[in-house]
Assembly symmetry: C2
Homo-oligomer: 502 residues x 2
């Protein structure tokens, strides 16, 4: 038994009499004065399994009871893992304190492809900058997704209807293998539990069926340290499920997952209620990067732009942005302390679009995202949104202070609607973040100044670098900088400036 690594017990017994998905197996793990109960599951072929994730070192005893039984003890020693990724304020970190900044990609139907394609995907991921993959348990039916998977999560009953009480163990074994393999590469699985793109009937199961499925999936997978729960891809297009159903799904997850994995619900058009306590972060679909700051405060959670369009050239607007635009969107997100997720949708003869099937990465954005990742991970701490104190620099040159002596700008801002605020931000706002007083970053995006400035603290000195985010260059333009500093910029798009304390 190793800390932060899944521990598995296997037993042989008679197959369950009733539902195979809800086998009567429970286990009690005890370490010192801490007791934890977990449910086991039937794994097919007369095999029962109990999985447990030990999170502290020490002497454990375990006791299994129900359809199969046994007991034993284990010494849990330090392993190589860092535990779960957890949310902390607006950021993430491993539970042992190790830094973790999500740089995700999207391969929705990754596990439903032929083995050869999965192999190719894993090879691609080895040299890609991604440490999270969004993918689905259920297969996907959509444009460019017309192939049937080899296995399905359940077997069918005599009438040809899915019988959720009879898992197809071949499916689950194969699916887990993909998750485990990603984990071996330090890649988190952002596991999508439901989605609407379905022609088989998984999207329209009853809530009773959903519950059976969920409990089985979670008993198998909760002890996997590198897994996040994404209740849905695009919950708002799952028309059969009501908001009450989603609340119930949250509760089922909380009941089965004793570890508290990250949990969110991704939307297409209509925000899920990210104030809900069970949700650990906001898994969004939009490109309003200038609102990250506002949303962090509103939801008090990290913001991941899990769908901000995909690099590619298909006919749909969500799947045909350039590599440069994708990289731009990443910089917008990360420089304000938020996160984004990559995807790729280039037309290809074999119909294997990365976003859904994996295969080879064809685009130019991953290399540039790697460059960004290197910079972000070299910072002394997590970036937080920074409001550069521009009022120190200049004010409009007018003598009109209004009639009543109150600060007219404050009054004006207070009168503005959300749309007016957003319009102003979309027009002029840069993407700025800081790590306390250790580092300040500013991403200019489409703005092309010939002169740049940074408004830095007066009491420290900084090295100032101008970064070409696309050409992957960093040039030191100032040292010993403090206070308001000015420097030349190349007057072109997609530049950033980083000031780090000396």
């Amino acid at each position: 038994m190793k800390q932060y690594e899944m521990f598995e017990l296997t037993f042989t017994g008679e197959p369950p009499q009733g539902s195979e998905a809800d086998a009567d197996v429970e286990a009690l793990f005890t370490c010192g004065d801490v007791e934890q109960k977990v449910k086991g599951f039937y794994a097919g072929n007369g095999t029962y399994k109990v999985r447990y994730l030990p999170r502290r070192c020490g002497s454990y005893t375990w006791k299994v009871y129900g359809a199969v039984s046994g007991e034993g003890c284990e010494e849990c020693v330090k392993g190589e893992g860092h535990g779960l990724v957890q949310a902390e304020e607006y950021h993430f970190r491993y539970e042992d304190g190790t830094a973790y900044v999500p740089f995700g990609t999207t391969i929705y139907a990754l596990a439903h492809q032929e083995e050869a394609l999965i192999r190719e995907t894993m090879e691609s991921l080895k040299s890609a900058p991604f440490n999270k993959v969004r993918h689905c348990i259920f297969p996907k039916s959509y444009e460019y997704n017309h192939n049937d998977p080899k296995y399905y999560p359940f077997r069918k009953d005599g009438s040809g209807k899915w019988d959720v009480s009879r898992p197809d163990y071949r499916f689950w074994d194969a699916f887990e293998k993909v998750v485990f393999e990603l984990g071996e590469m330090d890649i988190q699985t952002d596991l999508i539990l439901f989605h609407p793109y379905d022609r088989w009937g998984f999207a329209t199961m009853s809530m009773e069926e959903n519950e059976t499925y969920l409990r089985y999936a979670l008993r198998r997978l909760s002890a996997v340290p590198y897994i996040w729960w994404s209740m849905a891809n695009e919950y708002d297009l799952c028309f059969t499920k009501t908001l009450e159903d989603w609340a119930r799904i949250e509760e089922i997850i909380k009941e089965e997952d004793i570890y508290g994995h990250l949990l969110s619900n991704h939307y297409c058009m209509k925000f899920y209620d990210y104030t809900r306590e069970n949700l650990t972060h906001c898994s969004m679909q939009n490109v309003l990067f200038y609102k990250a700051d506002q949303w962090m405060k509103q939801f008090n959670k990290p913001i991941i732009y899990d769908e901000c369009c995909y690099e590619g050239n298909i006919q749909f607007s969500w799947g045909n942005i350039s590599a440069a635009e994708m990289v731009h969107r990443f910089w917008c997100a990360y420089c304000t302390g938020a996160f984004a997720t990559h995807g790729e949708t280039y037309l290809s003869e074999d119909d294997a679009l990365w976003w859904s099937k994996g295969g080879k990465l064809k685009g130019q954005s991953p290399a540039k995202i790697a460059f960004l990742r290197g910079i972000i991970e070299s910072l002394p701490s997590a970036l937080e949104p920074w409001m550069e104190p521009e009022h120190l620099l200049y004010g409009p040159d007018f003598n009109d202070k209004g009639k009543d002596g109150e600060n007219p700008f404050v009054k004006l801002h207070a009168s503005m609607t959300e749309m007016e605020d957003d319009a102003g931000a979309l027009k002029d706002k840069l993407f700025t973040g800081h790590c306390g007083k250790e580092a300040f970053i500013k991403y200019y995006g489409i703005h092309c100044p010939g002169r740049g400035y940074m408004i830095l603290p007066e009491k420290r000195t900084y090295k100032v670098e101008v970064i070409d985010t696309w050409n992957e260059t960093r040039e030191t333009v100032m040292e010993n900088a403090k206070g308001i500093v000015w420097f030349d910029m190349p007057g072109k798009e997609k530049m950033a400036v980083l000031a780090t304390a000396e």
Copy 2:
């Protein structure tokens, strides 16, 4: 006297006893059964003038009375002008029906520069694609605008305070000359009556002074056919003026302008109330081009994005977008039937930034805007927003129709907030317009499809062209196209497709 051309009568008399700005001169023009009264003005040096804009041909009699008097008759014949530009639904046209699509630029302090620079500006405009210039009566004080003008609109009293009752005629003569010269080049003056960027005190005059100034200005300028009233540049930063003051300014303009010139009020951050009846169009400052359609319906007026940032490289975000971005913004606006205004802010050694002083155009966007103008003006009628019927093309491939049988997409859309609607549009919406069934245009902006489609009427045939908006190329990719048509696209940014009926 010529139709649509300013007619001017000049009289000599004793200077006014009281306010020189409110001379006691009135005129009655009669043509058939139509009588129109206009006020004259004192032009300095013992000279009074009455100006009148005849809008129909025929026999006129006129009678002037007050400080000076006289009467006469004139035969008004057809001239070369087309009359005022007027708003019609969401578009503009000359009052004689001639097409007019505004392609404006911004030279705020055009008339306050040295003559040599004004000459250079006029030369630049001769080969530029612009047919409207936003510029100010009052001089401007701001970054890159530190020079004093040669003349001011008023003289000062003994205590050194501006005396609005004593116009400086040298100013008005010089100012008008600029307006007239623009008009000779078929360039409309979008005349800014107030603005906040002031160090002389013009921005903080009392409403009584404002009224005196306005009435004088309008008596001089209302008969100029190629003039629009822009009550302010950035009214919301004119802190001394209240909304009631702006309403009063509207009323004064309506009283003095018997012709009904175009009238709007430009804002910085806080929308002016564009539902107000006196306003003929929306003079906006934002880059929310996807909202043009909504705003047209909401305000029932044409939408001009009069400030959508400037091509340049200064330190301010509003003044450092690339030529490509400026051209992109123009295409976004025009393809949905809205309009945009150019400006240029390149750092230069002589400190002459086009946006404020004029001079030479240094940027690359004017040539590309000329290309766009050529296309827009070649269309059979004004573009209106087009909602391409994409539901005919595809629907998500899912079998989940919800529990209650109502169209779940309709319900979902109905539940969305304005922010959610905007977020969806910002992510995926293209810029699409049509001229009835005669022409359809789609601008892809940052989207890079390798395959394009157009969903055209079934009962006509169309020529389909793929347009590279930056490289100024047009390639016919289909003829005899009807219904849903697909064609190859180059998979790069800033492309458009135009289908014109054969």
